[in-house]
Symmetry: C2
Subunit: 135 residues, 2 copies
């Protein structure tokens, strides 16, 4: 089972201006910016209780974020749930009939191992599973 | 400022089948179902740590959820942040230039007073502010 809603990911065109806007909206500054080169994204994070808000700007037209914005405009791109053991959870969900977008966990932002579930398996929602690798 | 990410709202066509699917996905059953007649929706809630997952099914074609699904299909409809004092927060955001969708808080699901911010004010994200009225 999942432990908790870890973050929501919002696709934005310009991280700098979105950071300013979300700082005003949430009343709190972003606490870090991180590039995930394998995904061609630049990300920033806001603490909003236990769950975070992650903003994502594409750094290349091949990025999934660039394609998402081209198709649907800016907006919520994914939601992420933290799990204890991502391999076990991927196996459990696959056996339940969920379609996973990667067969092995990959390295995401924020020192996490991540895996995505196809939106067709989850009522149109792109769901990320993530396992913290800090400890 | 906002206190925490309180829930994410997902628009679904059929609450019963979506409940079954999200039970499998999250590994936890929904803990309540609630109708919000003023909004023409039937909702269900899942506990996922501090932040909840709310599924919403339209009970009438006039419902915002019905219109959302017709336009974009099922998917994430809104994200909600808890605030201490919704009137003060609405005033603060309006003075910062955010466009609010209601001028007075209205009664939402889960014993909350709620207000929505226009997606154009928040990089394509429909943001709800909510204040708990339990205590």
């Amino acid at each position: 089972m999942v432990k908790n809603l870890e973050h929501i990911g919002i696709a934005v065109k310009n991280l700098e201006s979105a950071n300013k806007l979300y700082e005003k909206l949430l009343g709190t500054p972003h606490y870090k910016v991180e590039a995930v080169e394998s995904e061609h994204v630049l990300t920033s994070f806001f603490k909003t209780g236990e769950a975070k808000v992650e903003l994502l700007e594409a750094t290349s037209p091949e990025s999934a974020i660039a394609k998402f914005i081209e198709k649907r405009g800016e907006g919520i791109h994914h939601i992420a749930f933290e799990v204890e053991d991502i391999h076990a959870e991927m196996q459990r969900l696959e056996s339940e009939g969920f379609r996973l977008l990667n067969s092995e966990p990959k390295r995401g932002a924020d020192n996490k191992l991540v895996c995505f579930i196809h939106p067709k398996s989850a009522n149109g929602v792109l769901v990320e599973l993530c396992q913290d690798c800090t400890s």
